[in-house]
Each structure stands twice: as structure tokens, then as C-alpha cells.
Amino acid sequence: MRSFLTLSAIVTASIVVGIALFLLYFSLPLLEGSGLEKTIVGGGDGDLSYGVLPALVGTLWISLLSTLFALFISLFTSMGLESLSGKRYTRFVESFYEILSSIPTVVYAFLGIVLLLPHMRALFGGSGMSILSASIVLSLVISPTMILYFRESFSTVPREYRVVVYSLGGDEGSYIRRVLLPFRAKSLKVGTIMGFARASGDTMVSLMLAGNSLEIPISPLDGARTLTTHIALLFAEDFDSAEFRSIFVAGLILMSVTISIIVSIRKMGAKDVG
């Protein structure tokens, strides 16, 4: 019994290490010597050259932009819900956001193709596939979870605070702005970082909506590929090629991002990441 427990614990806990080692093993040949530069900026001898730099920039663009949108949406939404709290429908609204958070990413991405892209095309011309399109859809993907997280952290604020604010002549707006938000600033930060983590790790939305182009994007209307879509597009490549190996470098970067996010959240003292 004990040996079975020990075995399964070791197996499960070492998966992370296993993943890291695999990624390192496959990407090491590329990181040595002059390979490093080629891996990052590209410049192979083939007709297409693959650096991970465009993908890295693309990931930054899309995850930052979508986190920004999502922060706007979820901050105002959870404040709005807070000001309506106590009313009968807030419970209903919350289970509504819970259901939204369960909608598969690939479904959001598909809806982006049929509902958003035609409008983007009409507005900005071009294919409609861009950092902006992906970010808009991605922000809708991550907002419900952020809203639920913010709501939960708001719900543990002592009720007396509101009474005191009202007794001093304040109203709901002043309570939210002057007490609630400063009091829960840390949760807001943690929730936003978690949103960013989800955005940077998402594959399907960028794959289906960002255009996957190889150029380093300069404007949000440019197409882009992310580290995740770089993997999705090239995993079936020739196993010995530099392009194929570069996806492991992409994986390695993604994993480092994950680890640093976890470390920073841990440092902030909030243990709950989900």
C-alpha cells in the first residue's frame, strides 16, 4: 500500500520535471553555439526561416492586450455586480458567468471566425485576422473566470465597512472606490496575473484568429503567431529540422513564463491558483 502511494506520488510530482527535461533535451542542440541566434531571429538556409522571436513578440502582444481588455471588462463588471448585490438576480448572474467560464475555448474561437472576423474585415480591411481580433475574443474567454475571482474576493470584505461609509455620508460608489478596491488591491493583481497566465497559454483562439504570420508584429492590426500556435503549426514537421526543434524552445519559454508567474503569485502570498 505504502509503496503504491509513494510510487504514484513520485510519478505525478515528477511529471513537471519530466516535461522540463524533455523540452530541454530536444531544444539543447539549437541553443548551443551559433544555433541560438538562428533559433531566436531565424535566418535558416531554407525558403522559410523560423525564429521564435516573432512568436514571442506575438505572445506578448496578444496576452497583454487581451488581459488589458479583460481587466477592463471584469473590473467594471464585478464592481457593477457588487453595487447590485443583495438583489435577487445576482446569484443568477453569477451562475451565468460560471457557465460562460465553462464554454470551451475552441467554441469562442469558432464564434470569433463567424461573428467577429466579418466585422473586423469591414472596419479595418484585410483578412480580419489580427492581434486585435484574437485579443478581443481571448478577453471574452478569460473575463468570466476573472469576474468570478474578483467577486469571490469582494464577498469576504466585512459588511461593516459599507455601513461606516454610508454613515459618513458616502454612497455605493464611494464605498467601492474608496474602500473595496484599495482593500482588495492584492486580489485584483493576482486575478489579473492569472488572467494573463491563461491568455499567454491559450492556443486555439490565436491559431484560428491571429493569422499566424511570421513577421514581427508592430501594430495590433497585424497578423501574428504566438508561441503556442507556433507549436501547433509545426509539431508535425520533419523531426530533424531546425523548425521542428524550435517548437521545443517555444515550449521551454512558455514553461518559464508559467513558473515565473507562479513564483510571483506565491511571493504575493496568495496560494490559490486555479
Partner: protein
Amino acid sequence: MSGDRLLLHISRVVVVAITAIYLSILFHIIIKGIDAIVSLGVSDITPAIWGSLTLVLLSVTMAIPLGVSSAIYMELYGSPKIVEIFDISFEILASIPSIVIGLFGFATLIALHRYIPSFRASLLLASISLCILVLPYIVKATRLGFSETPSDHKAVAYSLGATKEDVLFRIMLPSARGQIKKGIFLAIARSAEDTAVIMLTGAVASYGFVDGLLSPFEALPFYIYYTSAVYSDPGELLSIYEAALILICLSAIFIRLSSGISRGGAK
């Protein structure tokens, strides 16, 4: 004061606007999806439905014993240092992008295939990879359940001559049942919706019904991804809505179940 009021008004407007956007998205899918079910029937996507169900069943069945016993190990034998290391590694595992886990599965495939030629991208490989994806949810839920066990109950059990193992299996495990169930439902919802993992480990666009662990398979999320890139007629487009509606229902039911238990079950 007026700044405070303005903030309040803006946030109420945002609530209404965002809720309206989400509602219209949801209605769009529901209406088109029902239209699809009525006009197409489900025969085209039946293999994908069965594929998804099998996949979820397999991966969660693998994840439950592994996850629960890891949590038990941490509770029973783990020194504080070990527990902390395990905690961090599960936290990282829970946040790794799913495509990286898919890549891990794919790399394992390449490495293993040299030695075991019959091991190829398949239902088995995809289930194992998805199991890795959902394992942290099970571990986390089980540990939460353990930590919520009333300490009185543990003290009584000890006073009656129970060993650490007795207390765990007779008191803590039964009391963690609610949380474990919640974790399982969450794992089901997660493994049903994930596309990135199965895309690298064995999902194909057309295969037919699942017929073996070592065979490729169809699955709903991959069907949605693949078909939305290549559909060539309105019927095919409509079938995507059908798959999406079914997938949403599946995820929503299990997410609801998982949070329902946590609300009702926490004594």
C-alpha cells in the same frame, strides 16, 4: 463625490453591455445548434461525440487513482519540505499551457515509437496526456478535502486507538468525498473541452467510431477546430454549431455540478 457616482454608472453600463454580448453569443449558438440538430440529425458527429466521451472517461479514470493517492501520500508520509515541493510542482503543472502538455505527449511518442513500433498517436496517448492535464485538479481537490476535515473527528479517532492510516482512510477520505467529486467534475469538464492536447496526440478529422486504445479517434473540440477551417458548404458550417452546442452542454453540466457540490457539501 461625482467621480464616485460616475464610476458606479460606468460599471453598471459595462455589466449590462457585457452581459448582453455574452447572452447574444449564447443564444446564437443555442439557436443555430438546435437548428442543426433538427435539420441534420446528429449522425455526422456521433463518432466525435463517442470519441470525446471515451477520451474523458479514460483520462479521468486514470487521473483519479493517481491524483488521490498522491494526495494521500503527501498527507501521510510527506515531510513539510516534500509537501511543499509537491505543492509547487502541482501548481506549475496546473498552469502549464495545454499545448506544452500535448507537446510532451508527442515527444514521448517520438521517443517511444523507436522501441515500440506499434505505439502511435492514439486514444491511449491522448488519454494519458489529458490525464496529466487534469491530475492537478484531482490532487488539489483531495488535499482541500483533507484540510477541511474537522480536527475534532481526527482527535476522537486517535483517542480510540486509530493509527495515522486509520484516520486517513476512515475519517479524512470519507469527509473529503465531496471535494474529490468536485475535482472530478472539474477534470471532466476540462478534459472534454481541451483541443490543444488531443490535436498533438491522436485526434483526426475522420475515422469513425472509436474502436481501440491504439487507434486514432475523433473528438468534438477537434471537429470544431478542423471543420471551421475547411468547411465547404452551409451544412458543414451548421454541423459545427451542433458540435459546439453539445460540447457546451457537456462542460456546463459538469461545471455546475462541481460548484453545486462545493456549496451544498461544505458543512
